[in-house]
Amino acid sequence: LPLRFDWRDKHVVTLVRNQQACGGCWAFSVVGAVESAYAIKGKPLEDLSVQQVIDCSYSNYGCNGGSTLSALNWLNKTQVKLVRDSEYPFKAQNGLCHYFSDSHSGFSIKGYSVHDFSDQEDKMAKALLTFGPLVGIVDAVSWQDYLGGIIQHHCSSGEANHAVIITGFDKTGSTPYWIVRNSWGSSWGVDGYAHVKMGGNICGIADSVSAVFV
């Protein structure tokens, strides 16, 4: 494993987005992972539609909540092609699903994996290198007040409640940490990111980890 790795350095991670007052973190994290998976395969890096997942992922509740697992399962079962954000922009509230013809260009997934990597965060780091940015679910109650630095206390692995994307890790300092992309805008945290200590399953970051295959 390298001491430091961040998929942003490979220019395959889109900019931080802002879910505003919409409880759609689960959709932002899944779409972000699909965007990166395609970019890693050499496709242009571009924002895909989160609103499409919010409106159309019928086993979820849109801005009132959802699960990354249900969203990935929906994408995989229906083979829905995610369209560009410019075609189906985010509006921070639930709406009616827009359907597109099969000939309409878009980005579907070939599969996904879900694992509990708790006590195996080194394996999780290998998965990150192998598959690209990972979807994670954390307990983010204490993230309300986070300004920066490495989260290593006050963050239980109790009840996961917020979906994020893990884009890298940094083990060069005395405290190794995960580099975690959030969806609360770039003014929150470290340019929209959080740094969470590696090891010890801080915030439950290793409990529910998904990878997307395209």
Binding site: Y61, S67, Q144, W188, D207
Partner: protein, 87 residues
Amino acid sequence: GPGATFTRTGPRSRERQEAAFRESLNRHQYLNSLFPSENSSAVYGINQFSYLFPEEFKAIYLRSKPFAFPKYEAEVPEPIPMDGNIS
């Protein structure tokens, strides 16, 4: 409602916002006081969420449903046959 649940509670009074902000200040002081010597540790303070009580923040932003995922099991390496040639 169409948006996040927060709109269901309607507009928030100024008093409520100020009370939430004061509670946030106290919380920041507590969170920052526990491990002052750890220079790389997280810092907590005023941001766009400081006008919300924790329960309001959670009701709007923390709406991902947890699921129990299968424990990751690294592939068990194939046992090398006794005669040594590896298929």
